[in-house]
Amino acid sequence: MKRGLLIILVLGFCMFSSGVSYGAEPIKIGAIFSLTGPGAHIGVAQRNSVLIAIDEFNKKGGVGGRPVEMVVGDDESDPTKAVMALRKMVETQPIVALIGPTRTDTGMAMIPTLEKEGIPTFMHAGGDVIITPVRKWIFKSPYRAADAMERIALYLKKHNLTKVGFLHASDGFGKDGAAIVDRLAAKHGFEVVAKETFDMKDVDMTAQLTRINARGPRAIIIWTIGPPMGITTKNARALGITVPLFQCHGGAEPIFFRLAGDAAEGVMMPSTKIVVADKLPDTDVQKKKLVDYIKEYETRFKDVPGTMVAYGADAAYLLLEAIKQAGPDRAKIRDALEGMKGYVGLSGIYNLSPEDHTGTTAKDIALVKAEKGRFILVE
């Protein structure tokens, strides 16, 4: 018993002393990612991407000598857990801003709390519902899903592929895509011949793909992240489906090749230029930044960065810049974010404004294709 007490005391002391800082008081920003669950492959990469941005920022002197410190939470890819993680963070840590979360569902679940508390937040979520309508405190760094899908629609138009099958996850991101595809079909004159859904935890989508295939689509768009990207691609190829397959703007990740295996070959997706950085012309304004960042990421994490890393890093860079301009004040940080213009990021050129909380346009988006274990530019 005595020994138990001693251990508790020692542990308590360690915890207490680790809280003591020797430099200037750090400014805390919250960060909630899907570090486990189906969004994990993205969440972990995004956490890494933010770490790089923060370290770089602190090395340059932080905010007038005060470093920025990230408080990390895991939402387990689950909306309920996301809100719990956020509440815990808000009540125990003096955070001035928040980065994340990773997924549309978790983001949507957190929005009421964030708006009520007035926390400037840069999300990594893909779905447009996050920023439609524009919410006072909420920004997101990934391309608008509508812009990303428009990139696909332009390809379809150019190659005269007028019948499209659409397969999407039944989560917030998937449903967001399902609404967008109808709007774009009307705009670009293609027909959605079949629309099917699956659960993020499902292990087989053959039935859905068979149904889609029976309607004779000339192309199939699959709107999901995580393991289903691989399963749907494998299932489609196993059914002998040879029409062009498209994945969403979160698909250009190294893990895609591991998940989909040989079936990955030829699959196309809208992406940031980070996966094709070495093939960009030297005149590209983003090239140097991308190449430097990739080098840093690869040395530090021994992993190849995918498209989600670019979104994650941009959210961090923009937020840190706003904190630098405005100081540790939530309302001023928010205003500074809305004033960001012409920021050259890894994903594109960001022009934020009171009407636009994403800031990128369809022009920033590259269409890439999986080929022999890497991504190449399609056009």
Binding site: A40, G43, D202, G230
Partner: protein
């Protein structure tokens, strides 16, 4: 693809996934029959089967077939260890206590797996290539044939084991009446140990044969085990023929439901059928009640 080819495709796909449910259901049954408990660690047996095979094959570079058996052996030992450890040591043999022990173990193992392998899904190669095979217009992969073949193999083995071997018969006797069995000189403890080992092995096989199609991660077992459990209930909990029938029926219904009606109700459809069966035949399709559980 014409209508009949589509139906065939749905049925074949459903049978494949149903075979996995059936294996998981068998795992649940074997332990239930020996101890009367629902073993929640069954999820982890499935998960770990895939993850151990990944470890042996991809990380340690051991040949595929050897990895398969090594992984199975590992999980068999784990199953035995769980019985020898927490389950046997527990002073209270009340069903509810034992069930809660398995819930605790399940969370512990899942957490450890997350720490050991990280959160990402990892791939396993197909056992024999990925060339599509056409059967009357429907397309399947060689791996699907492996799934059918291995499941049938496991079922034949179990049938032989429970009806032709002395140990198997002893296990059945234990299931029928523990006290009478122990009076006949059957070591009940040993039978329980064996049931955990066998469940572990069968769960692991399920996890390994599906992994090349779906990839595997630290929590893949949860959904499969949930469906497997439903399959066991559907067929009549504790009845092995019921488990197989339940698994296949659930798999095919899911696939047909998603294909013919709407993929929105894929999961709901299977559970609706389960509810209907339970309403009208609470013992499950092939259940006879408590006295004949094997």
């Amino acid at each position: 693809m014409g209508f009949y080819e589509q139906i065939l495709q749905f049925v074949l796909t459903g049978l494949t996934i149903g075979a996995i449910y059936a294996l998981v259901a068998l795992g649940f049954n074997i332990i239930h029959n020996a101890t009367g408990i629902v073993n929640f660690v069954q999820c982890e047996f499935v998960t770990l089967g895939g993850m151990m095979m990944y470890t042996y094959y991809s990380l340690l570079g051991i040949p595929l077939i050897l990895s398969f058996f090594l992984s199975m052996t590992t999980i068999i030992l784990l199953g035995a260890l769980i019985e020898r450890g927490p389950i046997r040591v527990a002073r209270s043999k009340a069903i509810i206590v034992l069930v809660f022990i398995t819930i605790g173990l399940s969370s512990t193992i899942r957490g450890t797996a997350l720490l050991a392998w990280g959160p990402d899904n990892v791939p396993l190669p197909s056992f024999s290539g990925e060339n599509v095979i056409r059967i009357l217009g429907a397309a399947i992969l060689p791996q699907h044939l492996w799934i059918f073949g291995i499941t049938i193999g496991v079922v034949i083995f179990l049938q032989y084991f429970f009806h032709r071997t002395l140990i198997g018969k002893a296990m059945r006797a234990t299931a029928v009446n523990r006290k009478a069995a122990s009076l006949m000189g059957i070591s009940v403890n040993r039978m329980v140990l064996l049931s955990f080992a066998m469940s572990g092995g069968i769960g692991a096989v399920g996890g390994m044969i599906i992994a090349p199609i779906t990839t595997t991660s630290y929590d893949t077992g949860i959904m499969l085990a949930l469906k497997g459990f439903s399959a066991a209930i559907l067929g009549g909990y504790g009845n092995n023929a019921g488990a197989i029938a339940g698994g296949l029926i659930l798999g095919v219904l899911e696939s047909l439901g998603a294909g013919l009606i709407s993929s929105k109700f894929k999961n709901a459809f299977a559970f609706l059928i389960l509810l209907l069966v339970l309403f009208f035949k609470p013992t499950g399709l092939l259940g006879y009640g408590e006295s004949e559980r094997v």
